[in-house]
Point group: C2
Chain length 322, copies 2
Amino acid sequence: MLKVHLNHETAPESWADLQSRLEPGIRLSTGECRSKPDFDILVTGEPTAEDLAGHPRLRAVIVPWVGVPLATLDLMRRFPRIALHNLPYNIGPTAEMAVALLLAAAKRIVPYDQRFRRGYWSGEPPDVPGSVMLDGGLALILGYGRIGRRIALACRGLGMRVVGVRRSPGPADEEHAIADLPALLPQATAFIVCLPHTHETEGMIGERELELLPANAVMVNVARGAIVEEAALYRTLRARRIYAAGIDVWYRYPSAAERKEGLPHPPSAFPFHELDNVVMSPHRAGWSEEKEPARIAELAKMLNAAAHGEPMPYRVDLLRGY
Amino acid sequence: MLKVHLNHETAPESWADLQSRLEPGIRLSTGECRSKPDFDILVTGEPTAEDLAGHPRLRAVIVPWVGVPLATLDLMRRFPRIALHNLPYNIGPTAEMAVALLLAAAKRIVPYDQRFRRGYWSGEPPDVPGSVMLDGGLALILGYGRIGRRIALACRGLGMRVVGVRRSPGPADEEHAIADLPALLPQATAFIVCLPHTHETEGMIGERELELLPANAVMVNVARGAIVEEAALYRTLRARRIYAAGIDVWYRYPSAAERKEGLPHPPSAFPFHELDNVVMSPHRAGWSEEKEPARIAELAKMLNAAAHGEPMPYRVDLLRGY
């Protein structure tokens, strides 16, 4: 009997769907980990040290989406007997949201919509150009894995040239090493951050990097807030040093309890909400109602493999971070 | 000496740019037509009957962008000695804005941004899905000329299949006749209207057509408001019969005088501004500060050709309407 415990919020229909897809040799439980008897696999957004230390049978943790928190990578290194997996089902939604944020920022969709709802046909402030053309520009994609390459396809469809920056560039002409970033940033019309959050990438984009971007640059972050320095990003936008940004990932998150309460919880120490050149998105790039059945199906496939004694896919390399 | 008169608002730097590009044999004037002596070519957004009747030397009108008003087509037919031209420089900006409106509507970018600025991390109303996935869906493009085909490239980059509907479909598999619309509408995830406003296309999309769209459809109009029936569009969105719409072209426009006053001027008799599933854009798809030099350069090329006695490009067929 393979015992699997889920401790992240799952809609009742998803839970029923998962149950129906699991083979008979799997027993599923849910709720707080602490009170539960031992289990083999834990499905969780962010495991605690207690979760890992308190369950001697535990041999694998599955983070049920693509992004693994940096704290989880650090924690898991202390438990080498437990494998870490993720579930990269949300590549399509994340890439599509990145492109939506890019275009919304480049066209000032939100401020024009808000003013026009009050009957005004012109933009404000009047001296800010109403849009940046992406066609013919360079899309600089930081993090050129599966999400980055999917974004690249969309950018090419918009008529952009594409350069992908990654730790280990492949032989393709468009792939560059991280060391090339200072030479590439001044050429970027779109600068899209979509690499994993690791010790190496934390704060990778600071004041110096942002200063290298041209005045008509549009930046997007769908990776993790901590990769881009909070104060530097705020000041760059505040001073209109770049044209605009579309930001899905932030600096201050509500706890699970605060989420349930539903009270306002500002995502930064800085008043990004006062800026007209940022599109604010509440960390939802990777989520899609339509993809939920696919996510559950993939999770079931992983668990069924484990029940058969086969290796589960999507093992995360704790040092690399993805 | 070729005499050219411009009576649409032109920024001083654009005017100077145009002057500098014209060959010596061209004399340029501007302002109200009535008070002006005779001229050969009139550059105007919308000529009046007086403009056309009052200038016997006049042999060509240039509408200095892509969209020719239906009233202009009708009027020009009464003056067969005067040729009508347009200036389709703004294909790129229009197509890019169409894709921006499509993605903004499909991802509910505006309502999420507005709520998140007040600190709320969740969408509202809670029972409305937060997004529609375009990847894998069908983009149905009504009007498959240069703008439509440019939009098609971007939709393919997003992973969509494309069908283009036009009056005279070419041999390509993706091109369909207007008669196929009822069979195609139920399959559309994106339905993008980008055909010219003619007597044939006026009111082409009414209640019957909108009812054929599926519940997850996202509609975009960057053509002319009158192609889509105002009340039918409002009611469809109000009832959430389709997922959302991105609308750049409207039903009530401010006059030039009202524009100068800058007072609010609602774009419809219906309160679209109360709806959370419409992205409202004040007829700006075709405009781009960055493309202004290209527009002026193209206009200069047309006028220089006329000065040499060569035919000007972009002649509009008054019966076809483009």
